[in-house]
Subunit: 368 residues, 4 copies
Amino acid sequence: MSLNTFGHMFRVTTWGESHGPALGATVDGCPPGVAVDEAMLQHWLDKRRPGQNKNMTQRNEPDAVRILSGVFEGKTTGTSIQLMIENTDQRSRDYGDIANTFRPGHADITYHQKYGHRDYRGGGRSSARETAARVAAGGIARAALDLLVPGIEVKGYMVRMGAMALDRSRFDRDAIDGNDFWLPDAAAAPEWEAYLQKLRKDHNSVGAIIEVTARGVPAGLGAPIYGKLDTDLAAAMMSINAVKGVEIGEGMAAAELTGTDNADEIFMGETGPEYGSNHAGGILGGISTGQEIVVRFAVKPTSSILSPRASIRMDGTPTEVVTKGRHDPCVGIRAVPVGEAMMACVLLDHLLLHRGQTGAMGPVGRIG
Amino acid sequence: MSLNTFGHMFRVTTWGESHGPALGATVDGCPPGVAVDEAMLQHWLDKRRPGQNKNMTQRNEPDAVRILSGVFEGKTTGTSIQLMIENTDQRSRDYGDIANTFRPGHADITYHQKYGHRDYRGGGRSSARETAARVAAGGIARAALDLLVPGIEVKGYMVRMGAMALDRSRFDRDAIDGNDFWLPDAAAAPEWEAYLQKLRKDHNSVGAIIEVTARGVPAGLGAPIYGKLDTDLAAAMMSINAVKGVEIGEGMAAAELTGTDNADEIFMGETGPEYGSNHAGGILGGISTGQEIVVRFAVKPTSSILSPRASIRMDGTPTEVVTKGRHDPCVGIRAVPVGEAMMACVLLDHLLLHRGQTGAMGPVGRIG
Amino acid sequence: MSLNTFGHMFRVTTWGESHGPALGATVDGCPPGVAVDEAMLQHWLDKRRPGQNKNMTQRNEPDAVRILSGVFEGKTTGTSIQLMIENTDQRSRDYGDIANTFRPGHADITYHQKYGHRDYRGGGRSSARETAARVAAGGIARAALDLLVPGIEVKGYMVRMGAMALDRSRFDRDAIDGNDFWLPDAAAAPEWEAYLQKLRKDHNSVGAIIEVTARGVPAGLGAPIYGKLDTDLAAAMMSINAVKGVEIGEGMAAAELTGTDNADEIFMGETGPEYGSNHAGGILGGISTGQEIVVRFAVKPTSSILSPRASIRMDGTPTEVVTKGRHDPCVGIRAVPVGEAMMACVLLDHLLLHRGQTGAMGPVGRIG
Amino acid sequence: MSLNTFGHMFRVTTWGESHGPALGATVDGCPPGVAVDEAMLQHWLDKRRPGQNKNMTQRNEPDAVRILSGVFEGKTTGTSIQLMIENTDQRSRDYGDIANTFRPGHADITYHQKYGHRDYRGGGRSSARETAARVAAGGIARAALDLLVPGIEVKGYMVRMGAMALDRSRFDRDAIDGNDFWLPDAAAAPEWEAYLQKLRKDHNSVGAIIEVTARGVPAGLGAPIYGKLDTDLAAAMMSINAVKGVEIGEGMAAAELTGTDNADEIFMGETGPEYGSNHAGGILGGISTGQEIVVRFAVKPTSSILSPRASIRMDGTPTEVVTKGRHDPCVGIRAVPVGEAMMACVLLDHLLLHRGQTGAMGPVGRIG
């Protein structure tokens, strides 16, 4: 039953609401002996932390993570790991007026319809604050991957924000960590910032596309038919708040290609098969090929905007909603570390599955 | 462990290879008392059956389904249902030459790498024949939905095939079942056919986009955070052979919208909330809104083409592959009933989950 | 993957070690709208709390539970509930000498062998302190059962402690809560206490049998074949620390009966079927009959004793182990509320499963 | 959702009814490259096959198993394996009179109450014929164990049948396969047979206790807290038809022991730790110790007897039931190979889990 859990062998259950005392992740199935500490997790949490610059919400949460179980003397014990992040800056008064009103584009109305009783403060369980728990869990997954398959590199970045699109010819991996947009093009960042600030001043918001990649992933990961690597990556990304589309490799554009265009030809390299192209995004038949894994997902524009939108109250009467509070003009920016965390969790999960079924951490069948 | 199983409460496990004696689906968790017979399932299987017209593979399989368990005197008993489809037209000799060769774009190489030992005949387990089992299981799901929530209508159709795109202004629901392309535009079908036959004669193939919709779905279905309705739909569609992208509502295009554009405004209708638009595709926060559910997925062009592509053999030596055998020039066409089946299964699964947790088959929280 | 999780729809994942900062339970799948507060859970935790009388370990833990998520304004929201109990009285120095020594009868050696790295303090994850988290989760389950099927009464008690056995002819339900042994025979309690204190002074410990019953359970709960009610109860009880046997109804004694003895004859009562006896323990074919559910489990004697036993150190050298620290002379006593908690969780889980599959909270098929 | 599925990584889903066209098992998660053929599975099926001697039901089923998928050129491929056994000797007319009557001690009444619609012929899904599918699946598990950890030996036998009890001082492992009772005491078998034939002639039946053991199991298998090896064994055995109790090692008798009696002292042997006794049944803290695993389960007397018992009809009217048809006077006999199959499945499952999490097929932490 995957209500609040994802993963098969490396299982992450998140808990907590935006304005409750704390939120966190229960991580089960981690291999023992993985070096982990709070500082290591904090590094990743700081990437998605709110209030860091003017392109983000101004809610100021330290997002300090505590490890409550499953780690002893600096190493995982193989038992369940509890990661807790206390909420400190809950300005709940901002949200009092929405207890009985449904914000267009939010989960307010559907949570009400599903459960009948909801924590409306700051979106409660549907708030993007839940993703902090994912990032913490992703830190555990990264540490385990580093131990088991050194050299796997998970990296996410933005490729679109509204009308702004990455110019692929200017792609610069080294630029990603150097600007507020995780943009692989340092020179374009100021233009993106001007665009976003204009939208913010217009009381508006905008969508985005994030690309998450993984290099160094061995061939053979993925469990056909319903636990395919791409199936699980699609589920993982679609489960992130506000995501409306997921692509692997060519993605939706594959529909416009012919078979001769799309086939990734195979050659024999020095250490194994090599491919002439990567339309497949590193996955064939749900199993990794050893190429770079390439996933993209689209995040819709933040629904919480200062522009008035028509809606209704719980009693059915009409109203206009202007969402105050402190919101990201583009939630896509902070979705980058979240997408990375999900990628790391899925890869570790499938590495453990593959090792369990076959005993190998990479290819079983030899080539050459 | 979802290797060959999908679903939480309504669980489908498929089995079988393209050229083995049979394939099928083990369906567990179906409600008791649902009227089901083989003819009813056959109706849906016939929609995806090969060899029906010149736009499909010429493999001629009757795809006759047998119900071996779980149904007694015409009704489900609540126990596990076994659906078996025997393979009859296995021309395995077509495939003998690929035992040691990897076809570009196929799962041959990754299955070999993952397992070391594979049934190479016709793609074995990775063949799209597996989807016949899904369609049979989807027939069970449709029958159960009909009993539990009369009026749910699941409908899929093609919206793109290579350079051909549906003109939305000409959308005609009634046209869908009347042409070989499940195209909601009868007048455009001949042009699509000409386009596809040209590609076939050029020994080529092409991709497609399928849209699957569901009307009449009650609000409240979907299990946040990791069993969201859109999460499970994304996984379900991505698990179909050759799928490279999945979209809900606006999908990837959401990235280009602003918050004011994207918000679906809410009004009070006679029987409940109504929305001014459906950018969300009928799902907010992972839970159905009661609007039409809209999912799209992209299918890559068939990799099995008669045009030669560079590849390698198992021993690492280079070769050129020309895939003979009988293949669909556009597998997207036959993916339409498969996408419908997955939609039906996911909806039933979430209906049962929601009923289990809340006791309701629709909204718990009242509005108005 | 049930490493640290049990349940299908009502899922409980426990975490935490004996001497870590805290332990707890992540409860997922609870119905919304259930009235729950910390005091209500504390009531059940106090039943298993250590240090309450001389028949227990003298470790003094308040076992105060905090609800960190999933409950809003006194009611469950349907989202994941986090229950945390902080450890306060960790006298870890007692355990320093066992870091490299394996206590006979403990999990020290097997945790070491399985994981290579373990929290040895107080047994770490294998400590019976983990059961506090179960009792807290069980409190949630009881509250949900009370709301959904008023009148279900879960009650456990001791029926054996070493040489002391309950005289069934003196069974007095009202006596159970009135003595330190949860013994349904007030007059016998002093004799049990004298027996146990003698063992304690002899630096020894003793085993026990606990019987857990549930009245008012509707017929129809249980999911054949592998999620039978008795299967899940057996798993639930066997997962409790130190349990070595589980019985339903007649249990092991059924082996000595003939078919004529064992059959529970059926009669028609005023409101439904009634039975002439309850050899089956309220379960037929894995499904509840509506009779009292009767489960028994045996707890082995506490392995932590002051009498020296032969063992080895991590380096393989021989040693004698005398387990100091503060231990229960009969862990079976504190297993009573734990068994009750497991019963409540399993019943709620199966009630939700049954409701999900059939829409009913009791019998679907009518009789009479 | 484990309705008809058991196992975590090695997952078995059974399907089929007593008098349907066929029954079988869908086996998912098997390692690739395991040599398997139908004859190998048939060997185990023949052990539980009905109609072999006068101590069994006279229903004559060949129980011929067919492998429909997942095995290619004599080896598993890592994909889902379908095992089908056709029913041939369905004398359904024997059962026509019980369509509206509930047999005491059977699941007739509870299946009716749970589902409202059931296949009553021969007990339908609740028939012990379902266990044939388990034995087939167990054959796959045995073959995989043989490949992965050569030397694991799973062996079951009877230790009690009504008033007849095994004299442990005469235990002879070599005698087990040489008599109709899987009795480790050749000289006692005639007495057991006389006892059983007397009961049969009296139109009666009797219960039994089966002990299933496994030698050569490496230390380290088992996944605390809720996937403990003993937890999963208890669930596996309790899920077998008519089982009412499960014991590990000392079992229920542990309740009568003191801590000094019960502790298995540890010594250093030549290749690893050795134990002075095996009260624990080879499992500590839910993890295997490397000693012999010892599980016992009690089977109640067959409820289908020719002696009349009081019952009711579906309309509530009273009746007397005499169960005709062909039934085992002691179902415990045929439960021996079923218990072995469950043991094999659980061991393989935990071996794969352990290998997945730790990469090892035995101890991770060294001793000595």
